[in-house]
Subunit: 264 residues, 2 copies
DNA sequence: GCATATCCGG
DNA sequence: CCGGATATGC
């Protein structure tokens, strides 16, 4: 059994104790972090080392973005795609297990895309759409069982947001983004593991804004974080959980972790 | 018996619990704070109210400087001298006790004066010297028993700094500042209460830089904070303490509080 | 709201 | 090193 987790941590240095608590409690074999907000040489390697996560692929930068995949199992870093072609650290791809026959794990932080859902007035939105198109193009070439996880910054389904109607024009849930993400999904036939375990007609969220003073009471969440498996891999998933309780920890990330077990 | 304290708190909002702990433990009748770093309307009045310091004279500004005198005993605000004539909040004068026959308490935050001890290249140093000259001029007019306390940003005596020789050209201990402060002292005949209780041949500090990682081990302190009494008042002082232990509290101010008891 | 960045002041 | 300030991103 191999357990894989993903978490947009919103500064790994500021929330090191929370990462440690999560790892101690959940003991995943692999953890994919997004928004580590730190350059590789300042990544808290020692803390992960202590926790047994001695294999790491860290693709960071100063202050913004950045992803890291840490693992108890041997890992080989295979790729750092720059789907925006602007140098931002938003992806790292690894293989866990034997070379050529292990599991590919793609860790991605898709751009948020700014406020205005119009590429003419908001270039960030255009970059997000381009990012998704390039991901779709890449997905076409994926020919091995893979898992792609991370903060996709898109809530594709109606019940992935607290109000479908209210969010149709809000970046993360606009039809143009959802369609671009769906093209990416189709390009490889990715299976949305979250929705394998929570039916599509039930609300399911992974992110709640800091701006709502009582996130639980208002529950204006979105499902922005995802774990998608190749068609061959998806049937091997044995359990998937979204750890909502972490949103209630002291000084939490605005995202919660997702955890999936696989019988490989 | 009336107990008066002074403390450069380096942001009163950030260190409210420390102020509360200090007040609970020491129970001074009057506390003079410097560097409150807050405008008057955002001063944490309620917390002081709860602690019984229901009489307050707050002269604050946004972000920088600012002084406040809080008291359990009735207090009348009498003056806000602007010895720099630039609008900075660096002084508040009050009378504690009956009008015209109470104790005058002057709370002052003398400018730090920048890095270069040369008014030609560093205007802040010139402003500091001018501030001291204007204080001396004012002191000439003081004709009632008074106590002047605060962060003077000058360590006048040889053993007010960790190394007299090393600091002779460092702002806070240069001869020109020490002479200006001495002119101010002479102008009213102020008595340096700190040195009434710790002989001048012993090291005595009230401030240790944040930049020294182990302030206690290196002990590179300076005595920048003072309580000076009018000649008639000084003999009524019954005890004076510098609370060095506060420098070891969590996230401390770089200054420690001074406390004097008076038998009035 | 929260967490960077950079700047200024001490 | 540690506070503020402002700006930007999410």
């Amino acid at each position: 059994m191999v357990t894989v987790a993903t978490w947009n941590i919103n500064s790994v240095r500021l929330r090191l104790d929370q990462v440690e608590r999560f790892l101690a409690e959940q003991q995943p074999d692999v953890l994919c972090l997004q928004e580590i907000k730190v350059a590789e040489h300042l990544f808290p390697h020692a803390a992960f080392e202590r926790m047994g996560y001695v294999h790491r692929a860290v693709h960071g930068q100063k202050g913004y973005h950045g992803v890291a995949t840490v693992s108890k199992l041997p890992l080989t870093e295979l790729s750092r795609h720059d789907w925006q072609d602007n140098g931002e650290a938003r992806h790292v791809g690894v293989e866990v297990g034997g070379a050529g026959k292990g599991l590919l794990i793609e860790n991605v932080y898709i751009p948020a895309g700014g406020d205005e859902p119009d590429r003419e007035v908001n270039p960030k939105f255009g970059q997000k759409l381009d990012f998704l198109e390039r991901m779709a193009h890449w997905a076409d070439t994926v020919d091995r069982p893979s898992l792609i996880v991370g903060d996709f910054n898109v809530a594709p389904l109606e019940h992935d947001v607290w109000s479908h109607k209210a969010l149709l024009k809000v970046v993360s849930h606009t039809p143009v983004e959802v369609e671009a993400l769906e093209r990416f999904r189709i390009a490889h036939g990715w299976v949305d593991l979250g929705r394998e375990y929570v039916p599509a007609d039930q609300k399911s969220f992974s992110w709640w804004s800091y701006r709502n003073k009582d996130w639980k009471a208002s529950n204006r969440g979105r499902r922005l974080d995802h774990m998608w498996a190749s068609p061959e891999l998806a049937p091997q998933a044995r359990g998937h959980r979204a750890l909502t309780e972490c949103r209630d920890w002291e000084r939490p990330s605005d995202h919660i972790p997702l955890v999936t077990r696989f019988e490989l």
